[in-house]
Symmetry: C2
Subunit: 192 residues, 2 copies
């Protein structure tokens, strides 16, 4: 998606540890117009007419997932991380490793809000190692629901989380895949 790549080129910053900061439009300050355009772009890759819910993981994924679910006219469900007093039993759970927080995190979705009849589009703003995606796919499988696809805005291709999901046969599309940040220059994978 050329417009998204342009924003990453012009506003993205590379921090130590290969962290690519795009917090001016994607995951701290959120450009709502761009989110709407990304939601529209996903229609090229997924059969939205079949989707009954959009699933993401808290926190930053919620913004893009809301833009998508609002546009497609379906509910948005976000997996919670760790256990709070507001969640009791009846949960689908999946343990993932958070590279951001350097610890194990449990993704939780209430069994009330994902059913075997659901056709799920998983959406996230960012994918690196793909741990959150692995956990969300796991929860969809545990619910016996159908995974229609996985839509990602920005993928860090050199960390290969997306490649592992592609090799596993998942219907995943990322709108901008960053292949390299060598020399402080962001290079995108061909075809995104």
């Amino acid at each position: 998606m050329e417009k998204l790549k342009e924003r990453i080129r012009s506003e993205g910053r590379i921090l130590p540890g290969n962290i690519i900061k795009v917090d001016g439009f994607l995951n701290h300050r959120v450009d709502t117009v761009l989110m709407d355009e990304i939601a529209e772009e996903f229609k090229k890759y997924f059969d939205i007419s079949k989707v009954t819910m959009v699933l993401t993981a808290e926190a930053s994924g919620i913004a893009l997932a809301m833009a998508c679910a609002g546009k497609y006219g379906v509910p948005m469900v976000f997996a919670k991380k760790a256990k709070s007093d507001n969640i009791e039993g009846g949960l689908y759970q999946s343990d993932i490793y958070s590279y951001t927080y350097k610890k194990k995190v449990t993704l939780l979705v209430s069994q009330d809000w994902i059913k075997s009849t659901d056709r799920v589009l998983i959406v996230d703003d960012f994918m690196a190692n793909g741990e959150a995606m692995r956990g969300l796919c796991d929860i969809v499988a545990k619910a016996g629901a159908t995974l229609e696809g996985i839509g990602i805005a920005v993928e860090k291709g050199f960390q290969h989380g997306g490649d592992r999901l592609r090799e596993a046969g998942q219907n995943i599309h990322s709108l901008a895949i960053i292949e390299s940040t060598e020399g402080g220059t962001i290079t995108f994978r061909d075809g995104t």
Copy 2:
């Protein structure tokens, strides 16, 4: 807002500790149509034409804040909780007490994404003790920005966080104020 109160009456559940669970449409599974209607309702109480950004706190507030910011055509900024590797210096901070997690939490907003020229609408899905609101107001003040108002979907009136903000002269409007859950019956404050 009658429609919101109807949803709370028909789908809300009261858990031990006066927790009111509305996770089927507000803060786990999110009804995107209802969020859009709430965003529209806020127009009655705030001068949206002046608002330059919508501010909320992660995580569940992001959903309603996105619906509002998308409808009003402005960016959405969410305060992060605690410090991750993706945030470096240059932050406005405010310490709040999280009753949900029973610990101190620091709200963080990058100084890049809230300016003294901004006119801010703070939005949240739920308010109980008002700690998150207090922290967000504090951040708006630290940035020297103008607070246009505070829009809340569901307020737990009997915990008085909203009343404290009203007494402090804040322009706060909650669309459903729960006054009591005694006897397992949800009673709303008059006028909401």
